[in-house]
């Protein structure tokens, strides 16, 4: 089904493209939400991903791995977003004593400490943990998304777990 739509979109069928984006918007949004931790950031990220799709769909090859590609796009967008945000926060810090980022976190009820901890991880380790545990992907699927080898993903996960233990201190992890 996806393959069909992609093919048609690549040939310039804007209806097919619209349909494709619509079908996957929720997926992108939920991934973005997991990565960013709040709705408005997730919407921004999802929008960025949609723009990327519009620009790049014609160049996409390998229709069977569309979902992997979406992951990659979303992860990159989420990372870019986080960076630009931290840049803004840094700039704003000179005006605002206390950034509102914690208040914007919608995820308080769900494993908030863990969430915070994962988001503090280095990019690659955070991605690996979210893909493996958050998205439930296998290590090899995650490796596809992240563009590295399966062993590297395993290593990232391993490192992340070590680090999380330190970050969360005495809590049983």
């Amino acid at each position: 089904m996806d393959e069909d739509l992609i093919e048609r979109a690549q040939q310039g069928d804007r209806n097919a493209f619209g349909l494709l984006v619509e079908r996957h918007y929720d997926f992108v949004h939920s991934v973005a939400w997991r990565w960013s931790g709040n709705v408005s950031d997730a919407e921004d990220i999802a929008q960025t991903v949609c723009l990327k799709l519009g620009q790049a769909i014609r160049a996409f090859r390998g229709a069977s791995r569309f979902r992997t590609w979406l992951y990659t796009l979303t992860l990159n967008a989420a990372r870019d977003h986080r960076r630009s945000q931290s840049r803004e926060r840094r700039n704003a810090a000179s005006f605002l004593a206390d950034p509102t980022s914690t208040a914007a976190n919608d995820n308080r009820d769900q494993a908030e400490a863990l969430w915070e901890a994962v988001r503090q991880l280095p990019d690659k380790q955070g991605d690996a943990v979210l893909l493996v545990y958050g998205e439930g992907l296998s290590h090899s699927a995650a490796a596809d998304v992240m563009g590295c080898s399966e062993a590297t993903v395993s290593w990232h996960v391993h490192e992340a777990r070590k680090r999380l233990k330190i970050l969360l201190g005495r809590e049983t992890m």
Partner: protein
């Protein structure tokens, strides 16, 4: 942990807001459409040439790589040239013209020096090292010619030299002028030379210290050690100058021999550094004994030494006379010198990390090792935080091993002298040579500041070891923390000498030239006693020997330790005596004193004093006595008729007393000392006396006289 992490997956994402969703979708569509439109337009540009003016088209080939390479090459040439220029400018002269002068000077001076060297072989080392530097500079200036032709170039007549070394290239335009201006150049060049080598002695010393033993000249060239005056922690025991004694009440003077020379070196170092020496650091007898005098010596080994007494007028007091006693020890012929077993006990504490300490010490010991015979043994013990054996007893045959061990010495840590001393004595015991010389040579800059080391305890140890045949010599180094009193005590109790080494020249003197005297004792516990005839002499004063005074009754007591005399040692003692009836008499006659007439009958008339010397053979415990009467036959009517060595020693005595602030010589000027010493300089093969004259001059300037 897995459970916790899995919870991440169970998180339910909130539904995206419809608003955002539609906005994103419409944006996506818009971008999709744009992308479609853009895709029709070709990307990049066609191969058509960019439009540019004819000027640009002509200009660009000029800027092509070939020409850029040219400028890069030019840079390559300019950079070394600039570097050379900078280097020369920082050395403080202009490169081109001075270069010529340098070469001319070197050429001429090389000739001059060659001649000069023929005439005065003992020319100071500084000259030659300076020349060496000049030669090196030519080598630097003229790399092309230097390797092959340097020697020729410097010794050839000067135009030839210039041609050979290719300087014409540098100054080709100026050649004629250069020739005309040569005399001027010479003057300028000499000046350059002088400024350049303003401190030749220092240069020489550095090279001496760093360089090999073979390079060292036996010339005690004075070294300007202009150290900053800093807090002085040198310790000297203060002793009062011997007072004038009345013969009527105290006719006998007793003292022990002293062949140490440490005080002179210390005074020299002080004066060279621009400070008047500490009064307590001046021991007149050590200053007098520093210089080699040509006293007549004994002819055979049975009589270990001979005393020569001269009575002469006092230069600084017209109404008194000097009784000069010169003693020369028997010179052991090197072939018959006994085997030596030496242990170097070396202080490597952190404070030794100064150029005039450990490095000098290393060089000094290298000199000594060169001097020893192949079958002699040497061991090295160091002491710092804890004592360690660096070298087990090793025969001089394995010289390389010994020198390597000396080289490895590194400073660091504090000083545990007592422990080191113990280790050294153990090693000396281990390699004990029966009937030979067994000696620990302690080299240090200060004292034994760690461990159970009260001076008394140390003294006891050293005395005990002395009785078992192991003697101790002390070599002092450095300034600022020197514990002179302890060093003296140690050496005196260990039957050894205390020498203070401030320059390599001094090391050469005390370790190499006088190695025999300090290593091979010919007599021990040498005591002097002089009894004055009250009929002739009213008062007397012993110059120096304050730290060596003995009780009158100890003279005949063989248990009392006294100084030792080594092979070829010279000991000089000078009394200032006031004849009976002289206006210089200070003490009034005793109202209740016995009538001198009664004694005069007993003694042969005309005898001034009676000299007794008591000594022990090195391996014996009972003393022998030598006696010499002093009569008018020993007297000379004027100062000039006394031998030049005697006059010189008197000058040294005057200088020493003046530095000590003795009243008797306070009216005697440094200038007079200078005259007295200069007239008695004699041959002075090693330049010791010339150096003394310099010290007097320095003291005169510093003392503001």
């Amino acid at each position: 942990m897995n459970d916790d992490l899995n919870r991440l997956g169970r998180m339910t994402p909130p539904a995206p807001s419809q608003d955002a969703r539609t906005r994103a979708l419409s944006l996506a569509m818009q971008v999709f459409d744009d992308a479609e439109n853009n895709s029709e337009a070709p990307q990049g540009t066609a191969g058509a040439r960019r439009q540019s003016s004819i000027i640009n088209r002509l200009w660009s080939p000029i800027m092509n790589r070939k020409f850029l390479a040219g400028s890069a090459l030019a840079t390559l040439l300019v950079v070394p040239a600039a570097a050379f220029l900078t280097l020369e400018l920082t050395r403080g002269r202009l490169p081109v013209n001075t270069g010529v002068q340098q070469i001319e000077v070197a050429g001429k001076e090389a000739l001059k020096d060659a001649e000069a060297k023929k005439m005065t072989p003992a020319k100071p080392k500084a000259e030659s090292s300076a020349d060496k530097i000049a030669e090196d500079e030519i080598a630097n200036l003229l790399p092309s010619a230097a390797d092959s032709d340097l020697r020729d170039a410097t010794t050839l007549p000067e135009p030839a030299a210039r041609r050979k070394s290719g300087v014409e290239v540098m100054v080709s335009k100026k050649m004629p002028e250069t020739r005309q201006q040569e005399p001027e150049f010479d003057v300028a060049a000499k000046q350059t030379r002088r400024t350049q080598f303003a401190a030749p002695p220092a240069v020489a010393t550095e090279s001496m210290i760093g360089g090999s033993v073979a390079e060292i000249m036996p010339s005690p060239a004075p070294v300007d050690t202009l150290s900053q005056p800093e807090e002085n922690r040198d310790r000297f025991s203060s002793t009062d100058t011997n007072p004038v004694k009345s013969v009527a009440t105290d006719p006998v003077s007793t003292f022990s021999a002293d062949v140490d020379t440490a005080s002179y070196s210390f005074v020299r170092k002080s004066l060279m550094a621009g400070q008047m020496p500490d009064r307590d650091s001046v021991r007149v007898e050590e200053m007098i004994n520093y210089f080699p005098y040509d006293w007549p010596g004994p002819d055979n080994k049975d009589q270990p030494f001979k005393a020569t007494v001269t009575v002469l007028p006092t230069p600084w007091n017209a109404n008194t006379r000097l009784m000069h006693v010169g003693i020369k020890g028997y010179d052991v012929v090197p072939a018959t010198a006994p085997r030596a077993n030496l242990v170097f006990l070396i202080d490597v504490s952190g404070s030794m990390d100064e150029p005039d300490k450990l490095p000098l010490l290393k060089s000094a010991f290298r000199l000594l090792v060169e001097k020893l015979k192949p079958e002699d043994t040497v061991s090295i013990v160091t002491y710092a935080g804890n004592a360690g054996t660096v070298l087990e007893p090793t025969a001089i045959k394995e010289k390389a091993k010994i020198l390597a061990a000396i080289d490895t010495l590194q400073p660091g840590g504090s000083t545990a002298g007592a422990q080191g001393l113990e280790a050294a004595y153990n090693l000396a015991q281990q390699a004990f040579v029966k009937g030979g010389v067994n000696r620990v040579m302690l080299a240090t800059d200060g004292d034994f500041n760690v461990g159970p080391s009260s001076d008394e305890e140390l003294k006891a140890t050293i005395e005990a070891k002395r009785k078992s045949g192991i003697f101790l010599s002390v070599l002092g180094f450095g300034r600022g923390n020197y514990n002179d009193a302890l060093m003296q005590t140690l050496a005196q109790n260990g039957n050894g000498t205390a020498a203070y080494i401030d320059t390599l020249a001094e090391a050469q003197k005390s370790l190499v030239e006088e190695a025999g005297s300090s290593l091979f004792p010919i007599a021990k516990d040498v005591k002097f006693q002089v009894e004055f005839n009250p009929a002739q002499i009213a008062e007397y004063r012993l110059i120096g020997y304050e730290t060596r005074a003995l009780k009158r009754e100890d003279f005949n007591n063989d248990k009392v330790d006294a100084g030792d005399i080594g092979s070829g040692h010279r000991v000089t003692a000078i009394y200032e005596i006031t004849p009976k009836g002289s206006p210089a008499v200070l003490n009034d006659d005793l109202r209740y004193g016995t009538a001198p007439a009664a004694q005069a009958d007993v003694k042969p008339s005309g005898e001034l004093a009676f000299l007794k010397i008591r000594y022990k053979q090195p391996d014996s415990d009972t003393s022998k006595l030598i006696t010499t009467p002093v009569t008018q036959a020993n007297a000379v009517p004027s100062l000039e008729q006394a031998g030049q060595d005697i006059r010189f020693s008197v000058a040294v005595a005057a200088f020493g007393q003046k530095l000590r602030g003795t009243d008797a010589v306070s009216a005697y000027k440094y200038g007079s000392i200078l005259d007295l010493a200069a007239n008695a300089k004699g041959e002075d093969a090693y330049g010791y006396r010339a150096e003394f004259l310099n010290l007097v001059r320095l003291a005169r300037s510093l003392g503001g006289e």
